[in-house]
């Protein structure tokens, strides 16, 4: 057989996080901990399917009016309506005025990509996307695939393990006028560092001054504080200020629908007539990528959002997940005090959401893994979701040892 025409195709670099999962699997130590995981785990370290989700799924499968027919390119209309309401709030003027163009998309990634493609085609401003340093690794890849230039703004401050607010504002003010500003709506990934309400106001002011187009990535609404409205604060602040903006909404974590790929993309536009046109273009963009979105997960999500009883049950379970994570933060902090780990670990408590940027260096992380069988990413990030009460003491010991000796 002739040599492959694809001989020159290089092997793509291995996924860093996947490599960690594989090493974890291969490790035989009974002490091993997987803190690299990006999905929620219960106290026993098991994945969770929420009760509200199971019940909604059962109803979907038992409903004789449900079938497998193609959804429209924009997905389930009720899903779109309820997702937008969840994000922007019941009282949102933008929604009331019909100024949102909302389509169902493939979780956060799919919504970011369709949004990015839409902007690359229709946005008259500079095709420049500003993302925080650091950000979710896939942000850069997505926007670059859309043909946009990606620039970074300062965000995480290593010495405080907190927000470099001054640096962030400076960089926003130095941005090209009309550029696109990507903001994590809450529970910043990977650092867990979020602006305060006052700081959000400052960010809004700076964005307005430079006429930046804001693009929110909301993957943790309800998952950060346990309260959907509270976690929607930044989105609502910006939207209520009258801005046009984009929102990529994911239900992967807060509904635990990860593999079902459930999300919504909204563009808030200046007027409702323009919003209709924008919606038509979002649909065409989707059509050329995947035709129409997957049905199963969105059917589940719609039922939960629409049924008062399921919605209430979901909110309780959501708070339960958020609370467990908060508890882990507190317990880890306690344990670090108890073992006398050097340094100020207050950031463990201040940081928000699934992830925490511990501040551990690469050498310290290597020690965590090689000596203590604790798997985490080299940037010092740990997933609080992968922690359990019984292991906090062990983890604290590992961190103390790593900080003292590496």
């Amino acid at each position: 057989m002739a040599a492959s025409r694809f001989l020159e195709v290089p092997q793509a670099p291995p996924d860093a996080i996947l490599g960690i999962s594989e090493a974890f699997k291969a490790d035989n130590s009974p002490q091993k901990m997987n803190l690299g995981v990006g999905a929620y785990r219960d106290e026993e370290g098991k994945p969770v399917v929420l009760g509200a989700v199971r019940e909604a799924e059962r109803r979907v499968l038992e409903d004789p009016t449900e079938n497998k027919e193609y959804l429209g390119m924009g997905g389930i209309p009720e899903f779109c309506r309820l997702s937008a309401r969840m994000a922007f709030g019941e009282g949102s003027a933008a929604l009331r005025e019909g100024r949102n163009a909302t389509i169902q998309g493939l979780s956060g990634t799919g919504c970011l990509r369709v949004g990015g493609e839409f902007l690359s085609r229709f946005y008259p401003g500079p095709k420049i996307v500003l993302i925080p340093t650091p950000s979710w690794a896939n942000h850069r890849a997505i926007f670059e695939r859309c043909g946009m230039q990606v620039q970074q703004y300062r965000y995480y401050k290593a010495d405080t393990r907190g927000l470099d607010f001054e640096g962030m504002i400076e960089d926003i003010k130095a941005a090209p006028e009309g550029a696109i500003l990507l903001l994590h709506a809450c529970a910043h990934n990977p650092t867990g560092v979020d602006p305060t309400p006052e700081q959000w106001q400052g960010i809004l002011d700076a964005a307005l001054a430079k006429k930046l187009l804001v693009f929110f990535d909301s993957a943790y609404q309800g998952f950060a504080s346990g309260d959907l409205d509270r976690d929607g604060y930044s989105i609502r602040l910006f939207c209520d200020a009258g801005l046009e903006l984009l929102l990529a909404q994911s239900f992967a974590k807060n509904m635990g629908l990860y593999g079902e790929r459930v999300g919504a993309l909204t563009v808030i536009v200046g007027d409702s007539a323009a919003a209709k046109k924008v919606e038509s273009q979002l649909k065409i963009t989707a059509r050329q990528m995947y035709s129409n979105p997957p049905r199963h997960g969105a059917s589940i999500a719609t039922r939960i959002l629409a049924d008062p009883q399921l919605y209430a049950q979901w909110k309780v379970e959501l708070k339960g997940m958020a609370d467990r994570i908060l508890t882990m933060r507190q317990q880890l902090y306690q344990a670090l005090q108890e073992v006398g780990a050097p340094g100020d670990w207050g950031h463990i408590l201040r940081q928000i959401g699934m992830f925490s940027y511990t501040g551990l260096t690469k050498a310290q992380v290597e020690n965590m893994t090689n000596k203590w069988h604790v798997y985490m990413t080299f940037d010092g990030r740990i997933s609080m979701a992968g922690l359990s009460s019984s292991k906090c003491g062990y983890l604290a010991q590992a961190m103390k040892d790593s900080v003292e000796n590496c």
């Binding site: 694809f6 020159e8 229709f122 609502r236 593999g259 536009v269 924008v278 050329q288 995947y290 997957p294």
Partner: protein, 441 residues
């Protein structure tokens, strides 16, 4: 946008405790916002997109209130009662899945392993040397469209400047997918309106004239929209030209099972290409044959001459997929794995596939008979010769408009009718509509 509205969305203020101070400080925000002038809309110049040539038809159909309306636009199977059909074997699979209480964790980027194995075996046969030798890169993806998109992006990146040749005519979305991925497309002759058959010599001539190493998009079976497929002998001659020119064949396999009713028989062309030692790309969809339309289940595969290349190609497809949707939806893939993984269920599936294809063949005959009855002088034999879900009528856009405006028959403007949406009971009505349109417009 009004201040009052903005104020109205302020959350409740807590009566006491530290949190209250933070919330209360939000009151000035509304005032602050008023000081900022709302920037002029930058999105108001966005134009309304034209309706999608295929999916737009369904949207128009939904709005029609006529009791006679017929949706023969999108290729979605309907029962004789013109109801959507969820395969019994799919329902069974879903019940089993629910009972297993499986989690909803992310699939790996390349998708569900059991699904990928089942899918490549369905296409090439479990004993295919390409599979045995690890020479196939298989990526679960978003049905046919999503798979084509990943394949097109791969071509744009690793075969830059290569032109994709697509048949004239082809499925309405092919051109957009390739163009959007940055791949230039050109057409090769395919359909001969005179014979209402394959313009075989024209096709070969065009493929011969194309630059060496072009991509050639081929429909695996049941060509959409024409229903005209090459014979086995013709496939051999097509393979000759592809081999001589070093072209990369790219199969679109959306109707495996709908051409002859047999899943195995309909896989002839890709299996033959493996025998011939050709490398090729293939997009597969389970939308029609397993009725999984909305679950978006399919695969993008590359059959290569060596395992090492397959590994590397898969790694690059994963990278492309990661920036479009990260990882594929789990539900539909699990259904496929259940059905194909159980001998009993696979057998049931084959039965239902034969039933669906059989109903379409039956309705073809009914339509033909009705057309001959109304107008015995015209040659309607193309209806019987065409293969798969569709009949390609040769009607002009004006005639198609008449079909819709006068007869409430919804179809695509290229003259394609989806027989999957026709019942025996409505065959005579459709025949009258076709005859009227062809005669008078």
């Amino acid at each position: 946008m009004s201040l009052a509205a903005a104020k109205g969305t302020r959350p409740q203020q807590a009566a006491c405790c530290g949190a209250a101070r933070r919330w209360r400080r939000r009151a000035p925000v509304a005032v602050h916002a008023a000081a900022q002038v709302q920037t002029a809309s930058r999105l108001d110049a966005v134009e309304q997109a034209p309706p999608d040539p295929i999916l737009g038809v369904s949207e128009a159909f939904k709005k029609d209130t006529s009791p006679d309306k017929l949706n023969l636009g999108v290729g979605a199977y309907r029962t004789e009662e013109l109801q959507p059909y969820v395969l019994k074997v799919v329902r069974k699979a879903e019940e089993r899945m629910l009972a297993k209480d499986e989690n909803k964790e992310y699939l790996p980027i390349e998708g569900l392993a059991s699904f990928r194995q089942a899918t490549v075996e369905l296409l090439l046969g479990a004993d295919s040397p390409a599979i045995q030798e690890g020479r196939v890169a298989v990526l679960q993806s978003l049905s046919g469209t999503g798979s084509l998109r990943v394949g097109a992006e791969f071509i744009a990146k690793f075969m830059p400047g290569t032109v994709a040749y697509i048949s004239r005519p082809t499925w309405g979305n092919h051109k957009n997918i390739f163009a959007d991925a940055g791949v230039e497309w050109r057409e090769y002759s395919y359909f001969d309106p005179e014979s209402i058959g394959l313009d075989f010599e024209g096709m070969l001539a065009d493929l011969q004239a194309a630059p060496d190493g072009s991509v050639v998009l081929l429909h695996g079976c049941a060509h959409n929209p024409t229903g005209v497929d090459p014979t086995k002998e013709q496939w051999a001659r097509i393979a000759d030209v592809l081999q001589a020119k070093g072209h990369l064949p790219f199969f679109d396999v959306a109707y495996q099972g709908f051409a002859t009713g047999s899943l195995e028989e309909d896989a002839f062309a890709p299996r033959y290409f493996v025998e011939r030692g050709l490398e090729f790309a293939v997009a597969q969809s389970y939308s029609k044959n397993l009725g999984l339309y909305a679950e978006r289940v399919g695969a993008m595969s590359f059959v290569l001459s060596e395992a090492g290349a397959a590994q590397r190609v898969l790694s690059q497809m994963k990278r492309i997929a990661r920036a479009i949707y990260s990882n594929p939806p789990v539900h539909g893939a699990r259904i496929v794995a259940e059905v194909v993984g159980s001998e009993e269920m696979f057998g049931e599936w084959k039965g239902e596939m034969e039933m669906m294809a059989g109903r379409i063949k039956g309705v073809r005959q009914d339509l033909y008979d009705a057309l001959v009855e109304i107008n015995p002088d015209k040659d309607w034999s193309f209806v019987l010769k065409q293969i798969g879900m569709f009949t390609f009528t040769g009607m002009t856009p004006q005639q198609c408009d008449n079909m819709t405006n006068k007869w409430h028959v919804y179809m695509t403007k290229d003259g394609r009718l989806s027989l999957a949406g026709l019942s025996s009971a409505k065959a005579a009505y459709l025949a009258r509509a076709i005859d009227d349109s062809v005669r008078n417009y």
